[in-house]
Structures are given as structure tokens and as C-alpha cells.
């Protein structure tokens, strides 16, 4: 089929060039910055070689943030997958109002993040917020709690908010995967007398797995990079409990005014993510599921 390489180039080049100009070039300049000692934006610096890398790799805050980022990605993956899978399985059933449910579940995803943050900030607050009174009425709490009061609860609350925003989108992607599974398979299994649980583990899950894997990879990259929700909500607090790597980068660049150190952290984070992405997509290609 390799008949028209020029044509293929014409098809692919615009997109590739666009991405190169907007993403690759800035990344290269971030790398260059990481080899210098620039402080504030617009100030100049000297070349310092790998000095920043030596410093950052021994910087406790960096490792704390890296650890938090890891937990953040894992927690989001688990919560979002569970919520999305449950929602997708429900939306895969037939019931009255299905079309409305399928359309409007996406509501949380189409709202600007700033608005999401404001909504939840209000709902979780102890003056006027709805969540505390609701939980007290339901008997879950006996007095108002500060959802952003401790590092742990703030972190968990943020995972909830971020998952709340993203799970419907993932649910629809899963639904897309589910609807590609031929219904004949289920009919056949039913005739063979397979239980609902068996049908799920033997048919649904294996056939959904490729979609899930790709979603998991992209989801991991996207949730690792979540910045706005965390920053607008807690600014990485309290006591650094939600300071993931993107927050640390922003803080280092625009609060401590150490552009070069921020760039170094960014380069390290990028290397980490690239390694993950390359390994993950390679294993995907090997299992032959990539489509």
C-alpha cells in the first residue's frame, strides 16, 4: 500500500508541525533553561551544567511531591475507573430515560474548571455549604468537618472533585467500548447458562480491556498533569499535603522565582512520564490490542 509517501506526508505533516511548534519547541527551551540559573522571569542567568539536577534530586520537597503525584494518579485511576465502570454498565442497560441519562451525565465535564472549583468550595465550606448539613442529617457526621483541614482529607476531597469532573467522560468512552461487544456473545453465554458474574468476567471484561488500557494510559498522563483544580482549591496545602509536581513547578517558578529549578523539575517529570508512556504503549503494541 506504500504507494504515495508524499501524500501521507501531506496528511500527517500539518498536525505534526503544529505540535512541534507549540509543544516541542517550548519543551526544548525548558530544557535549555534547566541548564542555567535563571531566577525571575525576564532576568538573565549563566550556564551551570547539571547543577540544578544535582540540587533537585537531593531536594526533599521534590521527592515528597513526586510521591504525592504517584498517589494522586493511582487514587484518581481507581476512583474514576470504578465510578465510570459502574456508570457505563448502568448506561449500557435499557431503561426509560436512557437517552437523557446518557446525554446529561456529561454535565460535570463540560463545566469550566474554575466553576467546578467554586461550586465545591462553596458546597464544602462550613458557612453556607450544603455538604456538612447533609452529612449531619444522614447521621454520617455529628459535627461539621473541615474537608480541607488536614492534608489527608484535603487530598481525598480533591481526588473526589477531580474524579467527579472526569468520570462521566471516561464512562462514555467505556460505553463506546461496551457497545462494540457483539450482543450475540451474551446470548450464546446465556444459553450456555453462564451467570451474570461469569458473563462479566469472561466476556465484558476481556473485551473491554483494550479500551480500558488506552484510557488508563491517557488518563494517567492527564491526571498527573492536573494543575488548575488543585491550585485553585488548595494551592498545594494544607501543610504541602496536596503539592503534586505540577503545583511544585508552578510554585518554584512563580512564587520562589527560580525559573531554572522549576524547569529542571519539569524536565524530570517529563522524563518520568515519557518512560511510563513508552513502556505502556509498547506493551500495548506487543499484545496486539492497539487500535
Amino acid at each position: 500500500m506504500a504507494r504515495k509517501p508524499i501524500l501521507a506526508f501531506a496528511f500527517v505533516a500539518p498536525a505534526l508541525l503544529f505540535l512541534a511548534a507549540t509543544l516541542v519547541w517550548p519543551l526544548v527551551s525548558a530544557f535549555v533553561l534547566s541548564l542555567q540559573n535563571v531566577r525571575g522571569i525576564g532576568t538573565s542567568g549563566q550556564w551551570v551544567g547539571l547543577e540544578n539536577y544535582r540540587f533537585i534530586l537531593t531536594y526533599a520537597a521534590f521527592w515528597e511531591s513526586a510521591g504525592l503525584s504517584l498517589v494522586w494518579v493511582l487514587a484518581n485511576a481507581i476512583v474514576q475507573t470504578l465510578l465510570a465502570l459502574a456508570a457505563a454498565l448502568i448506561l449500557h442497560q435499557k431503561f426509560p430515560g436512557l437517552r437523557i441519562a446518557r446525554t446529561w451525565i456529561i454535565l460535570t465535564w463540560i463545566v469550566p474548571t474554575v466553576v467546578v472549583v467554586m461550586i465545591w468550595r462553596w458546597l464544602f465550606s462550613t458557612s453556607g455549604g450544603m455538604i456538612n448539613p447533609l452529612l449531619i442529617q444522614l447521621g454520617i457526621l455529628n459535627r461539621p468537618m473541615g474537608f480541607f483541614a488536614t492534608p489527608e482529607s484535603a487530598f481525598a476531597t480533591l481526588v473526589f472533585i477531580n474524579s467527579w469532573r472526569w468520570f462521566p467522560f471516561i464512562a462514555l468512552m467505556m460505553l463506546a467500548g461496551l457497545s462494540r461487544i457483539p450482543t450475540e456473545l451474551y446470548e450464546a453465554a446465556r444459553i450456555d447458562g453462564a451467570s451474570a458474574f461469569k458473563r462479566f468476567t469472561r466476556i465484558t471484561w476481556p473485551l473491554l480491556a483494550p479500551t480500558l488500557t488506552v484510557l488508563l494510559i491517557i488518563g494517567t498522563l492527564l491526571s498527573f498533569n492536573v494543575f488548575d483544580i488543585i491550585w485553585l482549591m488548595t494551592q498545594g496545602g494544607p501543610a504541602g499535603g496536596t503539592r503534586t509536581l505540577p503545583i511544585l513547578i508552578y510554585e518554584t517558578a512563580f512564587r520562589s522565582y527560580r525559573m531554572s529549578e522549576a524547569a529542571t523539575i519539569a524536565v524530570l517529570a517529563t522524563m518520568l512520564l515519557m518512560a511510563f508512556a513508552v513502556l505502556a504503549t509498547r506493551s500495548l503494541a506487543r499484545s496486539g490490542d492497539e487500535r
Partner: protein, 275 residues
């Protein structure tokens, strides 16, 4: 499919859970925006408004350029969606169908575009845009948003193309159509639902983007909804009523849009191509 009674109960419970999870926050926000200030911050909040006022909306509309923000957001998001499609459709098709050296490598590199914290490119991009005279223009926002939406768009489109039965395309090809014609005449119409879904994805990505829009845009007349909204938050006082009204109005346009095209998004995602 038939279901047992217990399954039905689980289904209904699950459905109610999700309705509450997604719906309640929005109900609280929208109903809150009609409450008088005293009721909004009352120690015991009310599930249903006990008061009714339009003062927050009046204040919002009379004193902020909400209409301007809305137009900006619509322009930026629509253009972003359009350009994303323009770049992603040929690329997605080429990655799916055309053979060329390094195809798999390039394809993977494109997905790697999500493998770095986007905050990193903020300052270099600002510098680039400044040199090109694009700071404080909507063009800058379109460029950024396309860059963020493009990789995923290409990935989705490729899988939509892949779901078209081979025979249809082969037949077209045997009729002697060059790839561009095949793409234009056969593939695009067949994947129309999927393309619509990708367009909506790009639109929403752009519609919700905040960080870049807040830094790249300097003047009020070119702000988008998220940035304009954050502007009414205020540093020393929080006027919850105004915020709730602002939130409601920021949600409203996409809700209206989705009322018309939301169906397409779901069918586009699930079916991808007309079979």
C-alpha cells in the same frame, strides 16, 4: 435483555446515586443563585429556596461584560474545534490507512504530547507569542487549545476510521478514487458521528481551559468565560450570590449547546462510524 428483580433494584439504586452525584451540586448552585444573600450563607442551608430574587443576575449583567466573555468563549472554542478537525482528520486517516516510514513511531510520539506538565510550556509559549505579536489575542488561545486537543482527536479519529468495514473502502478504492477523494467522499460521511464527537471534545477542552487563557489574555475585552468568572470572585470579599449567578450563567451556554448536540456526542463516541 431481561433482568431479574434484584438486578432492577441495583440498577435503580445505581441510577439514583449517579443522578444525585451529578445533579445535586448543580441544583444547589442554580437554586442558590435565586436566594437572597442572607439565605445563601444561613447556618442551616435550605434545600429549596425560601426566597426569590434576581438581584445577583442583575448585578452580574449590569456590571460585568458577561456578553463579551461569552462571545469570546464561543469564538475561541468553535475555531479551536474547527482547526482541530482540519488537522486531525487527514492525520487520523493517514495513521490508519496510509503506509509510510515510521508510522507507528510518529503515532506514538503524538500521544506522548500529553506526557509533560502543560504548565511547563506556559512561559516559553508566552515568549513566542510575544515575539509574534500574539499575546492578548484570541488567536493565541486557539493555538494553545488546538495543541491540547489534537493528539487525543487524532487517536479517536483513527479508531473511528478503523471501525469502518474494509469492504466499503476497498470498493471505493477499486473504483479508482485517489485517497483524498476516498477520504472526502466515503470516509468522512461514514464517520460523521465520530467527527462530531471529536469536534465536541475539542470544543469543551477549549471551553473549560483556564490557566493559559488567564495568563495570555491581558485585556478585559478578550477574556473568556472562565477568566471573566474568576474575575468576579474578588480578593477580600466573596459575594456568593454573585458567584452562584455567574456559575449558573457560565454553565447555561454549554447546557443549551448540549441540549441540541449532546445526543451526537454519545452516539458519535459509541458508534464512531455509520455502520
Amino acid at each position: 435483555m431481561r433482568r431479574g428483580r434484584s438486578w432492577n433494584a441495583v440498577l435503580v439504586a445505581g441510577l439514583l446515586f449517579f443522578v444525585a452525584l451529578v445533579g445535586l451540586p448543580f441544583w444547589w448552585v442554580v437554586s442558590g443563585s435565586f436566594k437572597i444573600p442572607q439565605e445563601i450563607i444561613a447556618r442551616v442551608p435550605t434545600m429549596f429556596p425560601q426566597s426569590f430574587t434576581l438581584e445577583h443576575y442583575q448585578k452580574l449583567l449590569s456590571s460585568s461584560d458577561y456578553g463579551t466573555y461569552l462571545v469570546n468563549s464561543l469564538v475561541v472554542s468553535s475555531l479551536s474545534a474547527f482547526i482541530t478537525l482540519l488537522l486531525a482528520i487527514p492525520a487520523g486517516y493517514a495513521f490508519f490507512r496510509l503506509e509510510f516510514k515510521g508510522r507507528e513511531t510518529y503515532y506514538r510520539i503524538i500521544l506522548l504530547a500529553y506526557a509533560f506538565p502543560s504548565i511547563v510550556v506556559l512561559i516559553p509559549l508566552f515568549g513566542m507569542f510575544a515575539k509574534a505579536g500574539l499575546v492578548d489575542t484570541r488567536t493565541a488561545l486557539v493555538i494553545v487549545n488546538v495543541a491540547f486537543a489534537l493528539p487525543f482527536a487524532i487517536w479517536m479519529l483513527r479508531s473511528f476510521f478503523a471501525s469502518i468495514p474494509k469492504e466499503i473502502e476497498e470498493a471505493a478504492r477499486l473504483d479508482g478514487g485517489p485517497p483524498l477523494t476516498v477520504l472526502w467522499r466515503i470516509m468522512i460521511p461514514l464517520t460523521a458521528p465520530g467527527i462530531a464527537a471529536v469536534a465536541i471534545f475539542a470544543f469543551v477542552t477549549s471551553w473549560t481551559e483556564y490557566v493559559f487563557a488567564s495568563v495570555m489574555i491581558l485585556s478585559d475585552a478578550r477574556r473568556t468565560i472562565p477568566v471573566g468568572f474568576s474575575g468576579i470572585i474578588g480578593q477580600y470579599q466573596v459575594d456568593w450570590g454573585l458567584l452562584l449567578a455567574g456559575a449558573s450563567l457560565a454553565i447555561l451556554p454549554v447546557v443549551i449547546v448540549f441540549a441540541f448536540i449532546g445526543r451526537w456526542f454519545v452516539t458519535g463516541l459509541t458508534e464512531g462510524a455509520v455502520k
